[in-house]
């Protein structure tokens, strides 16, 4: 077994850092080995925060051998991961130009379309890839994914069944089967498939996340949220924005109408709208909190997910209790911090378990500001101005705290504050 073979074995086993050492050893002796450069790129692209290095490696492979379609296909995948989808599409086209009968090149183009959320185009190219090579795992798994995202339930089920029949020991096939089960609201079957996926590949983060979702889906609260997510996933980012803005416009119009009809109804609508907004932002954190409470399921949570669950779920529980008791006893010193904690759960849901370092800083600071505001207001209501009514520091801080919380719901849609930098 040569060192290259050893590196390939390690790569196959998912031991990417060790594989990289082998490949670098080979490159130290054979710096113009284009094949090893390409394998190095594949190692790097699968590791967090190393996509740019992967791009450099694959471009070196291409420099050494420009007419190899496989290398252009890999470059397309790396560029898609870097969200440079136009360049990725060009690269995929070049790969196909060099190797028109290469199933991998066709499935690379499908992957790029998937990254662009052009599901129909992705489906088309997946089918072309599978027409050449029915065993192309990348294409067959991607096909089930895009069918589900287009809401083509029956076709998705059929594709998944075919995947499992062809290779029941394929972890990714079980992951896709799990998501298909979640899409048809069968969280029990989903849990079975995700567990099987993890049994086959315990280090599969896709399987772990799927298992976590199936645990969370045990509660009706989270199941409803999943339905909303599956619905929205069918649309591109632009269309999702249109839907959200459209809903907001409808809310504003309805509120105006109800203000004239009956203020109580308008108040009810405001509560509903706020509840909807909070639910969308807080559901993942609440789901994590519920999983954390389960002694065996909690092991599926990463440390950052546990923190998210505790911050959001714990903050919500404490906030609700304090607010309710404050209202019942008319003690502003309880009511005000209770509301503050409830508001803090919104930025907290974006601060923990956020892939973006900038996002963690921004939302972390907002969370700290809101919590500090709640603490200062509590002190103000208890010590400085214990008389009924909100004044002093509370009055001063109320508006900034509310604005900061509302701002989070808009800032949270900025990709650079949610995605890891590369």
């Amino acid at each position: 077994m040569s060192e290259t073979s050893h590196g390939l074995l390690l790569q196959e086993q998912g031991r990417l850092e060790e594989a990289e050492v082998c490949f670098r050893n080979v490159l130290a002796r054979e710096p113009d080995n284009d094949f090893v450069h390409s394998r190095l790129a594949l190692c790097q692209m699968s590791q967090e925060g190393r996509k740019k290095e992967a791009l450099a490696s694959i471009e070196e492979a291409i420099r050494l051998r420009a007419d190899e379609g496989f290398y252009h296909a890999v470059r397309a995948l790396v560029l898609a991961d870097l969200h440079r989808t136009r360049d990725a599409l060009d690269s995929a086209d070049r790969a196909i130009a060099f190797a028109p009968e290469d199933s991998f090149a066709l499935s690379a183009k499908a992957s790029v379309y998937s990254a662009m959320q052009r599901w129909a185009d992705a489906e088309e190219w997946c089918r072309k890839a599978l027409a050449i090579d029915a065993e192309n795992a990348l294409a067959s798994n991607l096909l089930t994914h895009v069918l589900r995202l287009q809401g083509k339930g029956e076709e998705n089920e059929a594709a998944v069944a075919q995947l499992l029949a062809d290779d029941p020991e394929n972890s990714l096939a079980h992951v896709n089967a799990g998501w298909a089960a979640l899409a048809r609201h069968d969280h029990g079957a989903a849990e079975t498939h995700f567990r099987e996926a993890l049994r086959l590949d315990p280090e599969s983060d896709a399987a772990r996340q799927g298992l976590l979702e199936s645990f969370k889906a045990r509660s009706w609260f989270y199941r409803t949220y999943l339905r909303y997510c599956f619905f929205m996933q069918r649309f591109t980012a632009g269309k999702q924005w249109l839907i959200i803005i459209g809903l907001y416009v409808v809310y504003r119009v309805a509120k105006e109408v109800m203000d004239r009809v009956h203020p109580v109804l308008a108040g009810g609508l405001i509560v509903l709208w706020l509840g909807f907004v909070m639910w969308v932002w807080l559901a993942p954190g609440i789901g994590n909190f519920l999983v954390f409470l389960d002694r065996s399921a909690r092991h599926a949570l990463r440390a950052s997910e546990k923190r998210l669950g505790l911050a959001v779920g714990g903050g919500l529980c404490a906030g609700v209790v304090l607010t309710a008791v404050g209202i019942a006893t008319a003690i502003d010193g309880l009511f005000v911090p209770g509301v503050g904690l409830l508001l803090a759960t919104v930025p907290a849901s974006l601060a923990f378990d956020n892939e973006s370092r900038n996002g963690r800083i921004v939302f972390g600071l907002i969370t700290a500001f809101v919590v500090l505001g709640a603490v200062v207001a509590a002190w103000d209501e208890t010590v400085l101005h214990p008389q009924p009514g909100l004044g002093g520091w509370t009055g001063l801080l109320a508006l900034p705290v509310v604005l900061a919380t509302v701002a989070c719901t808009w800032l949270g849609n900025i990709p650079s504050l949610r995605r890891a930098s590369e």
Binding site: S2, L9, Q13, R15
Partner: protein, 472 residues
């Protein structure tokens, strides 16, 4: 370490007592009070100008002060005038090695050991051999050793301080063939469980699974079971799997044959299989023997993960060699060490092959204390409390502890180079550096936890769950 005040009091009574003066000088040297040490050595030499010990230790002091040339010159004089004084030759070997003269170092080392076998320093000998080979001692074709190999090498190196020379060695040479196979053979290991600090749970596991069966062979055979066979040691890198394997061989009083990946793998088809067979053959002829395979997951990889048939034939060969039905492995204990037991082909875990598993966790507090002591040996460290430092190094592997010391030494060295004098490494500095070193075991446990939670139907990873405090 002698109490300086007590020595001074004794010298007040007997000021010209040369042995006392030498003891005081050594005590000053241990504290890196170099000026005081120099004064005391000079006092001793004033009493006895030809005292070889005083002159050798003064040369050591000069070396610490960075005056290597003067130190070498003085040692040459000592060796010329007192050729039977072994420690002078040993120090000369160290200085020659530092001066990039490994062949000279080897000669001086051999001379020292010939005079006094108790002076044999395995660690120094290994460094001389490595310097002579012109590499790190890892694969000659690999400029960068694998992370696994580096971790194991660090952990293995830490136990090699001066052990007693084995006087029972009858000089019989079973291992001439090791030159051709380039295997690291030890005739009889110079370490046993008593010399390995901590790791009590692992030692007990080995006693129950390996040593007692071998010592009560007839009892086991009465039940139709064969003693020996294969044992798999698994755990995070750099935590002493190689060391405990050597110690196991020491407990058994068997020969220890350590086989690295680079010693088997060959680019030519069929050659790797041939080498593997030769190794097993050699072990069988040398029984009782412990055959230790490092990075065994590369030789015993899951065949589903292999793309080429070339790798599969090697795995099949390994299976055949282990298979006690087809091969005569009586008296041969096969130990495999791996950081990735989950990547082994399941065929290797069947009865008769690696059917016993031992989890080697990161060193416990006792083991860490011992590692700290060994790491501090030969370095300018002042005010060290090994136990207190070890307490702060939870989850650190041997390699991590070495990294902590390396950082502290580099910092002290930079300061020494700018100030021109020896600057000792302090406890405080080591604690500070320890905070900067991320324990390497944590990454391993992240992977191990996943396997223990989701792929543990056979109970293979129960020990990992137990270590992590997770209920099954």
């Amino acid at each position: 370490m002698a109490d300086i005040e007590s020595l001074k009091q004794a010298l007040a009574v007997s000021p010209d007592n040369v042995p006392l003066l030498l003891m005081l000088a050594q005590a000053h040297l241990d504290q890196f009070s170099l000026e005081e040490a120099r004064e005391t050595f000079e006092r001793a030499l004033a009493q006895d100008p030809t005292n070889a010990q005083a002159r050798t230790q003064l040369a050591q002091l000069l070396e610490l002060e960075g005056k290597t040339s003067e130190a070498i010159l003085r040692l040459e004089q000592v060796c010329a005038e007192a050729p039977e004084f072994g420690p002078a030759w040993l120090l000369r070997a160290k200085l020659a090695l530092n001066d990039d003269d490994p062949s000279g170092a080897k000669d001086f080392f051999d001379r020292a050991v010939a005079i006094d076998p108790a002076l044999r320093d395995e660690n120094l000998l290994k460094r001389i051999r490595q310097a002579s080979a012109g590499g790190t001692g890892e694969s000659k074709t690999s400029p960068i050793p694998s992370p696994q190999a580096m971790g194991e090498a660090q952990a293995g190196a830490y136990f090699e301080s001066s052990f007693e020379h084995d006087e029972d060695d009858d000089g019989e040479d079973f291992f001439d063939e090791d030159d051709e196979l380039e295997l690291d053979f030890e005739r009889k290991p110079d370490v046993d469980f008593a010399r390995v600090g901590g790791m009590e749970s692992v030692k007990e596991d080995i006693r129950m699974k390996i040593l007692y069966p071998l010592k009560n062979r007839e009892l086991f055979e009465a039940y139709g079971k064969k003693a020996g066979g294969g044992v798999l040691l698994y755990g995070p890198p750099g935590c002493g799997k190689t060391l405990i394997s050597r110690a196991t061989a020491g407990e058994m009083d068997a020969k220890f044959l350590s086989v690295g990946l680079h010693q088997i793998l060959d680019m030519w088809i069929g050659k790797s299989e041939e080498k593997l067979h030769q190794i097993f053959d050699l072990a069988r002829r040398s029984a009782p023997a412990v055959l230790f395979f490092d990075e065994v997951d590369a030789l015993a990889a899951d065949r589903k993960d292999m793309r080429t048939s070339a790798g599969r034939t090697l795995i099949n060969q390994f299976l055949a060699e282990l298979d006690s039905e087809s091969a005569e492995n009586d008296g041969v204990l096969v130990l495999g060490a791996t950081n990735a037991p989950w990547h082994l082909d399941s065929a290797f875990l069947r009865p008769g092959r690696f059917d016993r598993l031992i989890f080697v966790p990161p060193p416990d507090e006792v083991a860490r204390t011992e590692i700290v002591r060994i790491m501090a040996d030969g370095k300018p460290v002042a005010g060290l409390d090994p136990a207190a430092l070890a307490k702060k190094l939870t989850d650190f592997s041997g390699a991590d502890i070495k990294a902590t010391f390396d950082r502290a030494v580099e910092a002290a060295l930079s300061e020494a180079m700018s100030s021109g004098k020896i600057v000792p490494v302090t406890q405080k500095q080591l604690v500070r550096n320890a905070r900067e070193v991320k324990p390497s075991c944590r990454k391993w446990f992240e992977s191990a936890k996943n396997y223990a939670l989701y792929a543990n139907q056979s109970g293979f990873y129960d020990d990992v769950l137990s270590y992590l405090g997770i209920e099954k």
